[in-house]
């Protein structure tokens, strides 16, 4: 990766790392000692840290010929392979949710965590694909509905149970599920494909329409 590209992608990388760290801190505080909480915290930190490291080292080139490499170079390549193959973020997600379950947190706490997790996933995707935030514009309306459902889920969690039995909790779950299903039904109308547009605005990376001949006006 060239220096210019690295500098350009640094804010997104930093954002992904900070969001991941924030999610872990939000789900872990205050520390509990039950239900393998320590192990879950370890997994969450490992997943977020390794995921951030994977993003940082994503564009480090690997040599095609690996036959006559020194032991440190071979170890480095093996490390890069493992770092790129393992789904660190998925592991971190599960561990963070596990930490959240272990806490007797109020529903709004979980809703904030949900919003942060979705943001973490979106920013991580932007960082690994090198795309601009504009790429997420077609999903904005769906994300808005998702945020509404997140709030409704938190609200459903805060409604006091009608009775002490398991049926009451199940009823609330069914209500939440029905809400999600309803949102899914209106989805085709909300997420209609946008009309075809020009390849990109003048001067955008990779575009010739700027008349300067090189991407980014170089």
């Amino acid at each position: 990766m060239t220096r210019t590209a690295a500098i350009r992608g640094a804010p997104v990388l930093l954002g992904a790392g900070l969001l991941g760290a924030g999610c872990v801190a939000w789900a872990a505080a205050p520390l509990v000692n039950s239900g393998w909480a320590g192990f879950a915290l370890f997994l969450a930190i490992l997943g977020v840290a390794a995921g951030a490291l994977r993003l940082v080292l994503a564009r480090v080139p690997t040599p095609e010929e690996t036959y006559l490499l020194s032991a440190p170079a071979r170890f480095w390549l093996k490390f890069l392979d493992v770092l790129r193959l393992v789904p660190w973020e998925e592991g971190a997600l599960v561990a963070i949710l596990w930490l959240e379950v272990l806490h007797p947190a109020p529903p709004w706490h979980t809703a904030v965590l949900g919003a942060a997790l979705i943001s973490y996933l979106l920013v991580t995707h932007l960082a690994e694909s090198g795309a601009s935030p504009e790429a997420l514009r077609p999903q904005a309306r769906v994300l808005a509905i998702g945020a509404g459902l997140l709030a409704l889920g938190a609200g459903a969690g805060m409604i006091p149970a009608v009775g002490p039995g398991a049926g009451s909790a199940l009823l609330r779950l069914v209500a939440a599920g029905a809400l999600i299903a309803a949102a899914g039904l209106v989805l085709p109308y909300v997420a209609a494909p946008a009309p075809p547009t020009a390849p990109g605005p003048p001067g955008s990376p990779g575009s010739w329409s700027s008349g300067r001949g090189t991407p980014g006006g170089r």
């Binding site: 590209a5 979980t110 939440a176 599920g177």
Partner: protein, 433 residues
């Protein structure tokens, strides 16, 4: 040979070959799936509806991608790749234009993976159906530019179509070193050129004064000399001749750090010499000596000859090519009376014997020693002694050539070639018999 900065749009309008895409779910989709499944599972297990809310945005995004399956995912796209030049010198900037067609409304991302000895510019990735990358070849030779990864992403960024395009090869010429002065023989063949010869003729350089004879031009009368001697005297001028120059590149040994090895320096020096002598209207040819034989290009004139010479040297890079025997080279390759400029590390004893043989046949040789490296040694006494012996052998080789009347100058590849050649460019080079 320099690359144009304007995109080669006319060529890119021609549709390129259609290539198959491999579609698969993206990492983003897998992460969303993990979040939604984990959220729903925990909501059911812990009976906490807020976790269903956590899963909801991810589920909606996945469902949106599912409902968006009507979006066309092309199985094949047309990719056109055009470098701005197929030949370039070391360190020269070359542009690479790429264009995709038939991608529908998918988002296209290009990522350049440069090949060995290719230095990419600032931009190694670009978005959009067409893009321009720049790169610089760092070392001479037939270079693979690299590969281009093309990734198509659907609107929801849940599926990715991958494609790798192998980029074309580039002929990279050695960057000629800096050389402005040339070595000129004392005896020049009777052919019009730009070097003042040691006979009178129709040049512009003053040669001498002689007595007027009928038929001399009036404008060449030297009036001060005529006044002094009492008879008409006329100025005479030196004839201008050209010479045949044969560059002899030794490709048998390639020692040193890649990029400044003996072979690198030999090729750069030979390219510089070819350019300098061709600019002086000399006929220049090249002989490349390597294991298994030699390849040659007869002396010629003009700028095109420079590229022919470099092409000839690069074509000899195969290492095991079988050419004509050195002793059986025709006169066209090695004309009698030619100046032979040799670029060699003088490590191959057979090559040194060949030089001695040429000298004994009457050729005027000038050797540019391009050896700038020594064998690695440890601090053992035997190793140090072996290194001393090796140095003495090298000095003996150079001494024996000098004794035969072959000047040997050392060039480090950094400074201008004019500096080591200065002692021989000031005055015409005489071939001792």
């Amino acid at each position: 040979m320099s690359s144009s900065t304007a995109p080669n749009e006319r060529l890119l309008r021609v549709p390129g070959p259609e290539l198959a895409l491999h579609w698969r779910s993206s990492r983003h989709a897998r992460r969303l799936l993990t979040l939604s499944v984990a959220g729903v599972f925990i909501a059911l297990l812990a009976r906490r509806p807020e976790f269903a809310g956590v899963a909801a945005p991810a589920l909606l995004l996945l469902a949106g991608g599912g409902s968006g399956r009507t979006q066309r995912r092309p199985a094949r796209i047309s990719v056109r790749v055009r470098p701005s030049a197929t030949r370039a010198f070391e360190g020269e900037l070359v542009a690479l234009d790429v264009r995709a067609e038939g991608h529908g409304d998918s988002h296209v991302r290009w990522t350049l993976h440069p090949g060995p000895d290719i230095d990419p510019g600032d931009l190694t990735a670009a978005d959009g159906p067409q893009a321009r990358f720049t790169f610089t070849p760092e070392r001479w030779g037939r270079r693979q530019i690299g590969t281009m990864d093309v990734v198509l992403r659907d609107r929801w960024r849940l599926a990715e179509g991958h494609l790798t395009v192998t980029l074309p090869k580039l002929d990279c010429y050695p960057a000629p070193a800096d050389q402005r002065t040339t070595v000129v023989l004392r005896r020049l063949p009777n052919r019009l050129g730009e070097h003042p010869a040691r006979t009178s003729g129709e040049g512009i350089e003053f040669f001498g004064v002689r007595e007027y004879v009928p038929g001399d031009r009036q404008r060449s009368i030297n009036w001060p000399a005529s006044t002094r001697r009492g008879r008409l005297q006329v100025n005479t001028f030196a004839a201008e001749r050209s010479q045949d120059v044969v560059l002899l590149a030794d490709a048998t040994s390639d020692v040193g750090v890649p990029g400044s090895s003996a072979l690198d320096l030999a090729l750069r020096g030979a390219a510089a010499a070819a350019r300098a002598y061709l600019e002086g209207r000399d006929r220049v040819g090249v002989i490349t000596y390597q294991w298994g034989g030699v390849s040659w290009l007869g002396p010629g004139l003009g700028r095109r000859q420079l590229y022919r010479i470099i092409d000839s040297m690069l074509a000899s890079d195969s290492g095991y090519a079988r050419g004509a025997s050195f002793r059986r080279l025709p006169r066209a390759a090695l004309p009698p009376g030619a100046l032979v400029v040799v670029f060699s590390p003088l490590l191959d004893q057979r090559f040194v014997e060949t030089l001695r043989d040429m000298r004994e046949r009457g050729f005027t040789l000038l050797v540019v020693d391009v050896l700038n490296d020594e064998p690695p040694t440890r601090w053992r006494r035997e190793d140090r002694m072996a290194k001393r012996i090796w140095r003495m052998e090298q000095e003996a080789i150079r001494f024996s050539l000098r004794e035969l009347g072959v000047p040997v100058v050392h060039w480090d590849g950094v400074q201008s070639l004019d500096l080591p050649l200065a002692a021989h460019t000031r005055r015409p080079l005489a071939a001792r018999r």
